[in-house]
C-alpha cells in the first residue's frame, strides 16, 4: 500500500547548523591538496549535509585540543588530545606533550649535558694548565673583614641549597643515562624519589634565601665603569698589570647579576610553578611544560656558571674560600684582587671592620686554610 512519497510543495528539509559555544568554527591550519579551504570552514552539521558520514570537522576539533565536555571535574578531563605546539627551533607542530618531550629529551638534554661537561672540562684545563691563582706578595698579617657573619650565613645557605638542588635536579634530568645503568632501577628509583622530594622542598628555601642574598649583596655589586674595563681585560688575563676592581670585580658582578639574580629568579619562579605553589595559577599540562623548559634551561645555565664560581671560590684562587669561610682577607689579597676596595678600606672610607665581633680578630694573623 505504500505510495511513492509526494513531498508537499515547497518543503525544504533542513536543520539550521549550529555553532557550539566557545568552539571556534574557524578553520584549522589547512591540509594542502586534500581539502579546499572552503571545506575546512564547515562545521560538522554543514559537512553532514554535503557529505553524510564524514566527520572530519569533529576530528579537527579534537586535534585542536579544545576543552570539551566531560562529567569528570579534573582540569583537563575534557581535552582528548593535547593541542599542537611548536617550540622554538622545532620543525613542525606536534601535540604539545610530544613537542615538549622532543625538546626536553632532545636538545635540552643533549646540549645541557654537553654544556655541563664542557664546563667541568674547561675548569679542569684551567686548573691543570693555568694553575691556582696565588697571591704574588707575601701576606701582611693584617686583616680586613670582607664578609660579616650574616653575609656568610646568607651565602652558605644559598650555596648549600643550590648545590642540593643542582645535584637532585640534575639527577632527575640525567640520572637515567648516568646513574641508572650503574645503580639499577630499584636503587636509582629510591635515590631519585628522595632526590625529587628533597628538590621540591629545598627549592623554596633556596628561593627565599636568594632574595636575602640579593638585598645583602646588591650594593657592592652595582656595576661601574671599572667593571667594564675589568671585563674587557678579562680580569687581567689580557694586558699587563692588575685589572682594577672594587669590592667585587666585574666577573663576580656578572655572576651576581646574571647567574644569581636573573637565572636564580627564573629558576625559582619556574620552580614555584612546578611545585604548584603559585596561587591562582592554572596547573595545566601546557603551563607545566613551559615552566619545565624554562626551569631546565635556566637551571643548566646557572649550574654551569656556578661551576666557575665554585671553582674560583675553592681551588681556583688562593684565599678566596677563607674569605667566605671566616670572613677575613689579608691586605695583600685585597690589594691584589680588589685594589679599589682596598684603597677605600685603607683610606677609611670603608671600615676595616663592620661587625662588632670582628674587631677582636682584626690585626691577628689568620691561620692559613
Amino acid at each position: 500500500e505504500i505510495k511513492t512519497p509526494v513531498p508537499a510543495e515547497g518543503i525544504v528539509v533542513s536543520t539550521p547548523p549550529q555553532v557550539p559555544p566557545g568552539v571556534a568554527s574557524a578553520p584549522s591550519p589547512g591540509f594542502p591538496g586534500i581539502e579546499s579551504d572552503d571545506i575546512l570552514k564547515q562545521n560538522q552539521a554543514q559537512r553532514n549535509e554535503v557529505q553524510p558520514g564524514n566527520a572530519s570537522p569533529t576530528w579537527r576539533v579534537i586535534k585542536e585540543g579544545t576543552h570539551n565536555y566531560s562529567s569528570l571535574p579534573a582540569l583537563e578531563a575534557g581535552v582528548l588530545i593535547q593541542p599542537k605546539a611548536q617550540f622554538p627551533g622545532q620543525a613542525r607542530a606536534t601535540t604539545a606533550g610530544e613537542a615538549w618531550r622532543q625538546y626536553r629529551n632532545g636538545p635540552l638534554t643533549t646540549f645541557g649535558g654537553w654544556l655541563l661537561i664542557a664546563a667541568v672540562v674547561g675548569l679542569a684545563l684551567a686548573y691543570f694548565i693555568g694553575g691556582k691563582i696565588r697571591m704574588k706578595a707575601p701576606m701582611t698579617g693584617r686583616l680586613i673583614e670582607r664578609f660579616t657573619s650574616f653575609e656568610r650565613i646568607v651565602h652558605w645557605t644559598v650555596a648549600i641549597t643550590f648545590v642540593t638542588l643542582a645535584f637532585t635536579g640534575i639527577a632527575i634530568l640525567f640520572g637515567k643515562y648516568v646513574v641508572l645503568p650503574i645503580f639499577g632501577h630499584t636503587l636509582f628509583g629510591w635515590i631519585a624519589y628522595a632526590g625529587k622530594n628533597i628538590h621540591n622542598f629545598v627549592g623554596p628555601v633556596f628561593a627565599v634565601s636568594l632574595l636575602v642574598m640579593f638585598v645583602t649583596y646588591v650594593r657592592d655589586n652595582l656595576p661601574t665603569l671599572t667593571d667594564l674595563k675589568w671585563m674587557t681585560r678579562l680580569g687581567g688575563l689580557i694586558g699587563k698589570g692588575h685589572a682594577h676592581a672594587g669590592r667585587f670585580n666585574g666577573g663576580e658582578k656578572v655572576w651576581f647579576w646574571f647567574g644569581v639574580v636573573v637565572l636564580g629568579l627564573i629558576v625559582s619562579a619556574s620552580g614555584f610553578v612546578l611545585d604548584m605553589l603559585v596561587p591562582g595559577l592554572v596547573y595545566s599540562r601546557g603551563n607545566m611544560q613551559v615552566a619545565n623548559l624554562i626551569h631546565l634551561v635556566a637551571a643548566v645555565l646557572v649550574s654551569a656558571m656556578s661551576l666557575g664560581h665554585i671553582y674560583l671560590g675553592t681551588i681556583g684562587m688562593e684565599g678566596a674560600y677563607a674569605a667566605m669561610r671566616h670572613g677575613y682577607v689579608d691586605d695583600t689579597w685585597a690589594k691584589e684582587h680588589h685594589d679599589l676596595w682596598y684603597d677605600d678600606v685603607a683610606s677609611g672610607k670603608v671600615p676595616r671592620v663592620r661587625s662588632p665581633e670582628g674587631a677582636a680578630r682584626v690585626g691577628a694573623p689568620v691561620k692559613a686554610v
Partner: protein, 988 residues
C-alpha cells in the same frame, strides 16, 4: 633518545624487577578462541574473517572462568541481574568466601551480551554497601539512634495496630517497590490486603501508569509490545520522550546495530540528548506537545495515503474518528503548538511510513503529563495507522523504568488491582483468596467494609494530600496517618515543600530500605516555622538488596529472569519477604500470609517464605497475563543456558538444561509474558505481542477482546481473515470461558479434572489452565479473544486523544486554545484540580515571573531518587553536583556563566540551588534538571540529619522540592516533565 622498546631485561640490575619483567615478556597470553573473542569485541561480526587470521590465538586451552585473587578461597560464580533499570542485564558475580570480589560480564546473555552501562558496571559496590543503613534505627530527639530488630517490630506493630483501631486500616499507606522482585511484590500486595487496605502503590504510578492504562485500553496489555532485541529488525525508529542512551543504555546496543544496517533514527525531545546525538533526524518540540506533533505526522500520513488501510479495517476500531481530529491539526497549527516546522514533521512521517517495519519508543517524556494517558494513546494510534503493531521490527517499544517495575505492575502492590490486573471486584478477591489459600470472608473482615475493599486506594503521587487534605474532601474515613516506605524514595514525588509538611504531620513513618536515608533526613530535618507532630515516631529498617536474596525479575520486554543470591544479607539487614513475614507475625496474619508457601531458614536461621514457592503461587493465580507458565525450574534453566538463545529472535533453537534435563527448544528467553497455561503446556512465551504471523503456541497472538464485542452497533472483533496463524477460528472472536467452550463443542477436549475446575470459570480464573490449553494447543486460538485495537477509548476523559496544555505553562495563548480538564472530586480518593489551577496561573500571569519551561529526567550514572547510586563511589565521582541545563541565550539574558551556582525558583515558592550548565542541549525556552539528587534543602546541606554513616557521598538539591501540582486525568501520574521556573543569578 627515544626509548621505545625496553625489552632487554639484561640492562636492568635490579634482579627482582628484571626477573619480573622477564616474566612479563615471556608470558604467553592464554587466549580465548576466535568466536569468543569476537563475541567479546562486538556483535554481528560473525562470518567473513577466517579464523586463522586471528593473531591472538596462541594457546588453544582457553583460560576462561573466574580466577580472582590467589588466596585460594572458596570461589563461586552466581548469576544475577542488574537492579538499576528494566533492560535486565545479566551479571556474573564472583564470590570468594562469601565476599563479592569480582563482577564478570555475561556474554551469553541475549539481552546484553555482556554489555552494561555505568550503573551495571558498578554493581559490585552493593556487595560492600559502605553507606548503607546497618541496623534498625529510631528518631529520638531529632537524632537517629540504634535499636534492636525486636524493639523495632514491637513498637512499630503496636503503633500500626493502634492506628488501624482508631483510624481504620486505610489510615496507613504502604509504598511498595518496583525494586522488589516479583515474589516480594506479590507478597506485599497480599500483605497489605490482609492488613485490610488497598492503600498501597509503587513507582509505576509515577513512571508508566499512563502507559499501562492507555496502552492496555487500546489493545489489551499495557506493556512493551516487542523487545530491545527485536529493534534489530526495525527499519526506522522514533524515540519520542525517551532518552534511551542515558536511561536504557544497553538497549542502544541493539539499536545501533540496526542503524548500521540502515535503520533510520528519529528523536523527538525538547532536549538534544545523547540519544538524539545518534539520530538521523532530531526534532525539538516544546515539552508537553507530543499530541500535536504526532497528529502532525498522522496528518501527512493520511494526506499521502501512507496509512495501512487493510490493517486498519481488519484490526482497528475508531480510526475514522481519530482521523477527523488529526486533519484539524494542519501544519501551521502544529508548528504553532510545538514549534516544529512542517518540513520536519513531514520528513519524520515519511521516514516512519516508508521504512517499515518502523517502531516507536517512548518513556517518561510522554507519560509524565496531566494528559499522559492521551499522549501514549496518540503514539499507539500512529503505530496502528502504519500497521506496525504485532509485527517484528515494529510495535510500541515502551521502555520501562526500574528493574522490576514491569513485574511489580503485573503482580505487585497496586491500589486498583490484585496481582495480574484482576481488579478489585468480588470475583477478583475470590480468585486470589483461593490461590492464596485463605478464606474470602476473613479477608473481607480485615477491611473497613466491602465497599472499601473494592474501592481503589489512593496513589503514591498523592499521599501528601491524603495526609494534608481536609478530611471532608477525601474519599475515605480517616486521613492517612502512617506511612511505610518499603523501597521508594521521597524525592521522586513532586511538590517537595508540601511533602515536608506531610512528613511532619504523620504519626508514624517507617522506612524499610537498604538506603533509607533520603527519607530519613527529610523527616528529621527542621524547617523554620513548621509545626511538627510531637507524637510522631520514625523508624528505619535495613532491608537487604536484591543481591542478598533470590527471585525473579521482569525486564521491560516481559522476559523473566531468575536472580541467584550473591551474598548473605549484609550487616543486620534482612530480606524484604522475611520482614513482611515477621511483621505479619506481629500483626496477626502470618499464618494466612504464608498459607500456601514453603518456609525456609533465612538469615540467622530465621524462617522466611521461599521465593520459589511464591513464584509458584504467582504461576497458579496469574492466568490473565500469562505469568502461569514461568515456573522457577524453567526460568533457572534459561539462566543457565543463555547461550542457547538467539540474540535477534530471543528464541532457543534447541538444547537441554544439563542440570534438570529440561528441553529449552523453542522457548523465548525468559518466557516473556504472556506465557500461558501451566508450565507443562510449555508455552514458549510471547516475544512480540499481537503477532498474527505466528501460531499462538509459538508466541503469536492478536488484539485482546477486553471491551465487549460491539460498540454502538459496530463490531469490536477482528475482521474475517484476521487471526493468528493456525487458528481454528478465522475471524474475530471474544474471550474464552466455559460457555464459549461448550458452544464451540470444545468442552470435551478438557480432561475430567480440568472440566471440574473450569466449570463456571473463564480463561483467567480457571485454575487448571484447561481452558487455555484447549484454546491454544488444540485449536490454535487465543484465550483472550481476537478483537480490534481501539483508536477510540470511550471510557477515558478524552476518547480521542486531545491536546491540552499543562497546568503550569509559559503560553497563555495556547491555554486559551487548548485548556485543560475540569476539576475532579474523589478521584482515587482525592479531589484533583485542573482548570481552576490553570486559570489561576494565567490570571496571575505566572508565565511572566517564571518564563522558562522546567523539565526533569535522568542521568546515566544515577538511578531514581539516587540514594543508592550516589552512595556508590564509582558512580558518584562521575556526577558530583546537581545542575540545571540552560541555553546560552537564557544564561546571557541573566548574566549567568557556566558552572556558577544559580537559584531556580518555581511558583511553589521553592528556591533551589544548583549549578548552571550553559549548553545548547536545551532551547532558550527550556531548562532541565536531573531528579536524582537529594540531601540539600533549598541551598542547605542536610547532612547533619542523616543517620550516622549513611549519608551518600554526593548530595544535592532535589528538583522535586520545586515541582508543581498536576496529575494525569486517568492514573494520577504526577506532572514532572512540564512546569515553569525562573533561573536567577546569585547576588552575594
Amino acid at each position: 633518545m627515544l626509548l621505545t622498546r625496553k625489552g632487554q631485561s639484561g640492562q636492568r640490575s635490579s634482579t627482582r624487577f628484571s626477573s619480573s619483567l622477564a616474566d612479563t615478556l615471556s608470558r604467553a597470553l592464554p587466549t580465548m578462541d576466535r568466536r569468543k573473542f569476537l563475541k567479546r569485541s562486538g556483535i554481528g561480526v560473525g562470518a567473513g574473517i577466517a579464523a586463522a587470521q586471528l593473531g591472538l590465538i596462541r594457546k588453544s586451552n582457553a583460560a576462561d572462568g573466574a580466577k580472582p585473587g590467589a588466596a585460594g578461597g572458596k570461589i563461586e560464580v552466581r548469576r544475577t541481574v542488574c537492579s538499576h533499570c528494566s533492560v535486565g542485564c545479566a551479571v556474573d558475580a564472583v564470590v570468594e568466601n562469601g565476599v563479592w570480589v569480582r563482577q564478570e560480564p555475561v556474554f551469553d546473555s541475549p539481552i546484553n551480551l555482556g554489555a552494561h552501562c555505568a550503573k551495571g558496571a558498578a554493581l559490585r559496590e552493593h556487595g560492600h554497601g559502605e553507606y548503607r543503613l546497618k541496623y534498625p534505627m529510631k528518631l529520638v530527639n531529632g537524632k537517629y539512634q540504634r535499636i534492636s530488630w525486636d524493639a523495632a517490630y514491637n513498637e512499630i506493630s503496636a503503633k500500626l495496630l493502634e492506628t488501624r483501631k482508631t483510624s481504620g486500616p486505610d489510615s496507613v499507606f504502604w509504598v511498595g517497590s518496583s525494586k522488589h522482585n516479583n515474589e516480594q511484590a506479590q507478597l506485599l500486595r497480599k500483605f497489605v490486603s490482609f492488613f485490610g487496605s488497598n492503600n498501597c502503590d509503587h513507582q509505576a504510578r509515577i513512571c508508566h501508569s499512563t502507559t499501562v492504562a492507555g496502552v492496555a485500553n487500546t489493545w489489551g496489555y499495557g506493556a512493551m509490545t516487542n523487545s530491545y532485541n527485536d529493534m534489530q529488525n526495525s527499519k526506522a525508529v522514533m524515540y519520542i520522550g525517551s532518552n534511551a542512551a542515558e536511561a536504557h543504555p544497553v538497549s542502544m546496543l541493539h539499536m545501533l546495530h540496526a542503524k548500521e544496517n540502515g535503520c533510520k533514527v528519529i528523536v523527538v525531545d525538547p532536549r538534544y540528548t545523547r540519544t538524539a546525538a545518534k539520530s538521523d533526524q532530531y526534532v525539538r518540540i516544546r515539552s508537553g506537545t507530543d499530541i500535536p506533533y504526532i497528529y502532525g505526522m498522522l496528518y501527512h500520513i493520511f494526506k499521502n495515503g501512507w496509512e495501512d488501510k487493510k490493517y486498519i479495517s481488519d484490526r482497528v476500531y475508531g480510526m475514522e474518528a481519530v482521523k477527523e481530529e488529526v486533519m484539524k491539526w494542519t501544519p501551521d497549527l502544529v508548528e504553532e503548538a510545538c514549534g516544529v516546522p512542517e518540513a520536519e514533521v513531514f520528513k519524520a512521517a515519511q521516514t516512519m511510513a516508508l521504512n517499515k517495519p518502523s517502531t516507536v519508543v517512548w518513556c517518561m517524556g510522554q507519560t509524565q503529563h496531566t494528559i499522559g494517558n492521551a499522549i501514549v494513546r496518540a503514539s499507539c494510534i500512529l503505530q496502528l495507522a502504519l500497521g506496525n503493531v504485532g509485527i517484528s521490527g515494529g510495535g510500541t517499544n515502551i521502555f520501562r523504568g526500574h528493574d522490576n517495575v514491569q513485574g511489580a505492575t503485573d503482580v505487585g502492590p497496586n491500589p486498583d488491582s490484585l496481582p495480574g490486573y484482576y481488579g478489585l471486584a468480588t470475583g477478583a478477591w475470590k480468585h486470589w483468596c483461593t490461590v492464596w489459600g485463605v478464606d474470602y470472608e476473613w479477608v473481607k473482615k480485615q477491611f473497613a467494609s466491602q465497599a472499601m475493599m473494592e474501592k481503589s486506594g489512593t496513589t503514591v503521587s498523592r499521599w501528601v494530600d491524603a495526609v494534608l487534605e481536609k478530611n471532608e474532601m477525601i474519599d475515605q474515613d480517616s486521613n492517612v496517618k502512617a506511612m511505610v516506605f518499603w523501597g521508594h524514595a521521597p524525592n521522586s514525588q513532586t511538590r517537595g515543600l508540601e511533602m515536608k509538611k506531610a512528613f511532619d504531620k504523620l504519626d508514624l513513618l517507617v522506612v524499610i530500605d537498604p538506603y533509607p536515608s533520603a527519607t530519613a533526613a527529610m523527616a528529621a530535618m527542621k524547617v523554620d516555622g513548621q509545626e511538627l507532630n510531637p507524637n510522631r515516631a520514625v523508624y528505619l529498617l535495613p532491608a537487604a538488596t536484591q543481591f542478598e536474596t533470590s527471585g525473579s525479575v521482569t525486564a521491560s520486554n516481559r522476559s523473566l529472569q531468575w536472580r541467584e543470591k550473591v551474598i548473605e544479607p549484609l550487616f543486620e539487614s534482612r530480606t524484604d519477604h522475611m520482614i513482611m513475614y515477621q511483621f505479619a507475625e506481629k500483626l496477626g496474619f502470618a499464618k494466612e500470609l504464608v498459607a500456601r508457601l514453603r518456609m525456609v531458614p533465612g538469615k540467622g536461621g530465621m524462617m522466611e517464605p521461599e521465593p520459589e514457592s511464591i513464584l509458584e503461587e504467582i504461576n497458579r493465580g496469574t492466568w490473565a497475563i500469562g505469568y502461569s507458565g514461568q515456573s522457577p525450574t524453567r526460568l533457572k534453566a534459561h539462566m543457565r543456558n543463555m547461550h542457547l538463545f538467539d540474540v535477534k529472535t530471543l528464541r532457543a533453537k534447541g538444547g537441554k538444561d544439563a542440570a534438570t534435563g529440561y528441553d529449552i527448544t523453542g522457548d523465548y528467553f525468559g518466557l516473556p509474558w504472556p506465557c500461558f497455561g501451566t508450565p507443562e503446556l510449555k508455552h514458549p512465551g510471547s516475544p512480540n505481542l499481537y503477532d498474527t504471523t505466528r501460531h499462538v503456541m509459538d508466541g503469536g497472538g492478536c488484539f485482546r477482546a477486553n471491551f465487549g464485542v460491539e460498540r454502538d452497533g459496530v463490531s469490536l472483533l477482528a475482521e474475517d481473515g484476521s487471526h493468528s496463524v493456525g487458528s481454528d477460528i478465522t475471524t474475530g472472536y471474544p474471550e474464552f470461558d466455559h460457555i464459549l467452550l461448550k458452544k464451540l463443542g470444545w468442552w470435551d477436549d478438557l480432561t475430567d479434572a480440568e472440566k471440574k475446575a473450569a466449570e463456571g470459570k473463564n480463561w483467567k480464573t480457571d485454575l487448571s489452565g484447561g481452558i487455555q490449553r484447549v484454546a491454544m494447543k488444540v485449536h490454535g486460538v487465543h484465550p483472550f479473544g481476537n478483537a480490534k485495537a481501539r483508536a477510540v477509548v470511550w471510557n477515558f476523559p478524552d476518547p480521542v486523544p486531545k491536546h491540552r496544555e499543562p497546568l503550569y505553562g509559559t503560553r497563555p495563548d495556547m491555554v486559551a486554545k487548548y485548556p485543560t480538564h475540569d476539576d475532579k472530586k474523589a478521584f482515587w480518593r482525592m479531589p484533583t484540580l485542573y482548570k481552576s489551577v490553570q486559570d489561576k496561573n494565567v490570571e496571575q500571569k505566572l508565565y511572566e515571573k517564571f518564563p522558562i519551561i522546567l523539565t526533569s529526567g535522568r542521568l546515566v550514572e544515577y538511578e531514581g531518587g539516587g540514594e543508592e547510586t550516589r552512595s556508590n563511589p564509582w558512580l558518584a565521582e562521575l556526577q558530583q553536583e546537581n545542575f540545571v541545563e540552560m541555553n546560552p541565550k537564557a544564561a546571557a539574558d541573566r548574566g549567568i556563566r557556566d558552572g556558577e551556582y544559580v537559584i531556580v525558583s518555581t511558583p511553589t515558592g521553592a528556591r533551589i540551588k544548583v549549578k548552571a550548565m550553559v549548553t545548547p542541549r536545551v532551547g532558550p525556552d527550556t531548562a532541565f534538571i536531573p531528579f536524582h539528587f537529594s540531601g540539600w534543602w533549598q541551598g542547605r546541606d542536610m547532612k547533619e540529619y542523616y543517620p550516622e554513616g549513611a549519608a551518600p557521598i554526593v548530595r544535592g538539591e532535589a528538583v522535586n522540592t520545586a515541582t508543581t501540582y498536576g496529575y494525569d486525568s486517568v492514573t494520577m501520574m504526577q506532572e514532572t516533565k512540564t512546569t515553569i521556573c525562573n533561573i536567577e543569578k546569585i547576588v552575594a
